[in-house]
Point group: C2
Chain length 561, copies 2
């Protein structure tokens, strides 16, 4: 586990606010508010690995600080059910035992997730709703409903003696939400009236002017495509976007289309959301993949995952002709109801290209078939004006987004000196209503590879990087130390370096060179293992670089008999 740890003594009159993830990055959101002796944690998300984290599946926050203070952690409060807010729970709950608070849908998704890891029974899940009021230590924790790309999202208000600390969660203001459930603007205003010491607010779209498009408008955009299509319609979207899914079911029903739900995560969410009452669908609208050909093409909608070009997703398999049940036809219309998450642009383009090549109609990007779940500049300013915070910490985003959010806050009257652009682990401390930066706690990335948590670090990653660039050469030789001779070898085994067949001469030469080097060493009575090995490594490395401009990893194995 990385990061910097500083021992800071606890003063019972102080409030400390910091992030263990989610600032200076997209993902693994986790924020901590420490009031007197009580640690209140907001969210526990995961992040998908950067390109240079080779072989890593997911990244979670370093929770050393929580482990060191486990007896003071009062709970993890979840704002909504997205992976970047709940995805670390299965790993974290193996190490720490704390109550988890969340709304109905959020806990429904968490439960499904934990049950995959056998953690469902041991977890202490506590249901809240937007009207819940909890006493936590010396504070009262309340919630307010927001609009986001998943239902049942809330913001968190921690009422302290110095004023409220408010965490917005992910939010937008949607004046026509699909479920008719408007964000609680009045409640936000009254929180603001009572006095907000510090606001932590979602910076995702702080660089985007204007307001976000309403989810209902997107529903209309999707419906327009439905009206114009006479073949099958395939819609790919995020599984967690229940409102989007509802609208796709609605228009399918209106046009008398049956719906096939395809892709593991889509099937799972549709089932959870239906069961909990967040998705309203007629039972007989659903058909199975294998029954798809029993219906006329004009009567079929296929709802699927893969909007990010994920190689193993249903859509990608369809595009490649590798899907067992569904082959794309030129008469199909495919709607990609999503935009690429940064980093996925190339893989999305690849899938789009494959889809076009099938001759099908592809709708994505320009048309109104997707909207963001995060408020744009005017919405972020509305939040600032409702909350009227004395201090402001822009969260949830790259540094450039936090930076842009600072400008917005200044334009809404927050003093420049009262805005903190914090990095992970950096503490802001409040005392007598005054805030200031105050040291650091341990923070960092914990890498998950398979079921290993944190057993892959910089050295392992460096080796993987080397291996991925130029492969490896294993040099095996058996020596007889007594009479200074080579008994067998040297044998060179290469993986990921060159085609052996096309480079026989190169490897033969390399072989000879190793034999000569060893002979010379033994003549000169250099016969410690480590010297022999480093000699072989140096000579071979130099030779191969000269001939190929590559630097494979070289692993000399010298046996003695």
């Amino acid at each position: 586990m990385g990061g910097t740890s500083t021992l800071i003594k606890q003063d019972s009159d102080k409030i400390r606010v910091f992030s263990l993830g989610g600032v200076g990055e997209i993902g693994k959101n986790m924020y901590v508010v420490e009031v007197d002796n009580d640690l209140i944690v907001v969210d526990a998300g995961l992040m998908f690995p950067d390109d240079d984290m080779l072989g890593i599946d997911v990244v979670i926050p370093d929770i050393s600080y929580l482990l060191e203070n486990e007896d003071r952690v009062r709970g993890i409060f979840l704002t909504h059910g997205h992976e970047d807010h709940i995805g670390a729970l299965p790993y974290i709950l193996q190490k720490i035992s704390v109550p988890i608070y969340g709304t109905k849908l959020t806990l429904g998704i968490v439960k499904a997730k934990l049950s995959e890891n056998g953690l469902e029974k041991s977890a202490d899940l506590r249901l809240i709703d937007n009207n819940s009021k909890l006493i936590v230590g010396t504070t009262t924790v309340t919630f307010f409903r927001t609009n986001h790309s998943i239902p049942d999202s809330v913001g968190v208000c921690i009422e302290t003696k110095q004023g409220s600390i408010v965490h917005t969660g992910d939010f937008k203001f949607d004046q026509n939400p699909v479920d008719g459930v408007i964000a609680e603007i009045g409640k936000m205003a009254s929180i603001g009236e009572k006095g907000v010491l510090c606001l932590l607010s979602d910076s995702t779209n702080a660089e985007r002017p204007g307001v976000s498009i309403s989810e209902s408008v997107v529903g209309q955009g999707i419906a327009d495509v439905f009206y114009q299509s006479s073949g099958r319609i395939i819609v790919a979207t995020f599984a967690s976007n229940v409102h989007r899914i509802q609208q796709i079911f609605n228009v399918s029903k209106a046009m008398d289309r049956k719906v096939v739900v395809s892709g593991r995560s889509m099937v799972k969410i549709v089932s959870i959301a239906t069961e909990l009452g967040y998705l309203h669908i007629d039972k007989d609208i659903l058909i199975k993949e294998e029954d798809i050909n029993k219906y006329d093409d004009s009567k079929v909608t296929i709802l699927t995952t893969g909007s990010q070009g994920e190689p193993m997703s249903a859509l990608t398999r369809m595009a490649k002709g590798a899907h067992k049940q569904i082959a794309i036809k030129p008469s199909d219309t495919i709607i990609i109801s999503a935009t690429p998450i940064p980093g996925n642009e190339k893989s999305v383009t690849k899938v789009v290209d494959l889809l076009y090549r099938t001759g099908a109609e592809v709708v994505f990007g320009e048309k109104n078939v997707h909207t963001t779940g995060h408020g744009c500049q005017e919405e972020l300013k509305l939040m600032l004006n409702l909350m009227k915070p004395k201090y402001f910490i822009p969260i949830h985003g790259e540094f450039k987004m936090q930076y842009a959010h600072r400008s917005l806050a200044k334009s809404c009257g927050v003093k420049n000196d009262n805005i903190f652009l914090i990095d992970k682990g950096e503490v802001v401390e409040f005392f007598n209503g005054e805030g200031k930066p105050s040291g650091k706690v341990t923070s960092g990335n914990v890498l998950i590879d398979g079921i290993g948590v944190g057993d892959v670090g910089n050295i392992v990653l460096r080796d993987r990087r080397l291996l991925s660039n130029d492969g490896i050469l294993v040099v095996v030789v058996t020596l007889n130390k007594e009479n200074n001779g080579i008994i067998s070898g040297p044998d060179i085994i290469s993986r990921g370096f060159v085609y052996v067949r096309e480079s026989e001469k190169l490897l033969d030469e390399a072989n000879k060179l190793v034999a000569e080097t060893l002979a010379k060493c033994m003549d000169e009575n250099v016969n410690e293992w480590s010297s022999l090995k480093s000699n072989v490594r140096d000579v071979l490395s130099r030779y191969l670089y000269e001939k190929t401009r590559r630097r494979p990893m070289i692993l000399p194995i010298i046996m003695e008999v």
Copy 2:
């Protein structure tokens, strides 16, 4: 070398047009027009590797077809000096000897490139300009000047008995080009009047409505930033964008700022373009990096590379505080005069974030500090209307761009059946003025790793992928076959798998397992090497997957004495 090869007999009355690269992808442009016995090649570009081409430096087209027909290749005609049009030359010219035609600046850049590979002297470089007229076999080849993000760009017109085959090169129509040199619209119109059999046109921006912004407008946008800045100004842009560079020099001169040119490729291009008369700068405006502190910050411009977040570029090193001469100050203004090329979004964001963290002002994206070099929809339609081609082949772009370009061509009156959305190697054949698809020639990716051309293929890449995901375990053991015993080992050496220190128990167990497996094999008299090895591999692989959910490469090395 990949792709499909089909032997096609040559009919002397036929024209064949195909692409060896540049369609269905971004990069490695290479197109071939075969008229009677003459092969005319347009461009020879490189492509940067996809994420899954681990360790690969660049990708070039498979030129098997040209090698098989070397005696008929009349020349490679270069449209302009960008890497995706000339970058394959250093590799190709090692295998094939043909004349290279290009304009002054294009050949200047090619020469510098070839001299780095010691190929300058042997290359047959032939200078042309926009008014050149060459007789090539039975055809006449002429050129027309276009606007693009590098000066001296041309389109190519191959006049055949059946009509002209026109290749636009990369183009936009800029009504206020920086050098005042307008695209030759009149000449294009007269080519169209004479009769164009087939047009091959740049599809890069076929999805973008409207027209591209003029380069002069960008100059004004950059100047606006200069007017508002009182500290140093650092501008990062593409080294080849000579017009952009000219404008940066102009505004620097107007504001009495000296200019430091930083970054190897920037220094090179500034020197070539100045020498050849494409860049006009006062000698005394240039200062050296080491003299930068002799001038007041308000009198300094730093012109540099790294607009794509390249890890080793000057800008990235400055952002990281790792640049020897230039440390970024909070009073600096940094202009990133570029947009991320698809795939580079994340690395650009990383550098932007680092720059923001220095406290400096960062200008990129939204403001008018960059424009595309490729025409948007209205410009592409203008080209189609000028050329009035009977047949149309959209080139230079992903399939979705070719697809969008087809719609534009249809809207300009080209018949749907006369538009060919070709993939690499797919031949369109013209006979008596009628065109039709006609088989395939060999095409594909040749991967360059270091100085190896094509010695890395699917097997090597698959190994690198495996190694990069979970690393490698080498298991070494020495057996005595006669008395069925282990003399030494098993020793397990791991690289890129787990932290050895944190996983001692795992590796100890693995060790024991291997010893038991070998003992059992020998008891059962399984003693062929291959069986012993596959037994070790299977047992170990299963064990490690169960314990870690990882699948490292396992390399058993069994020695016998």
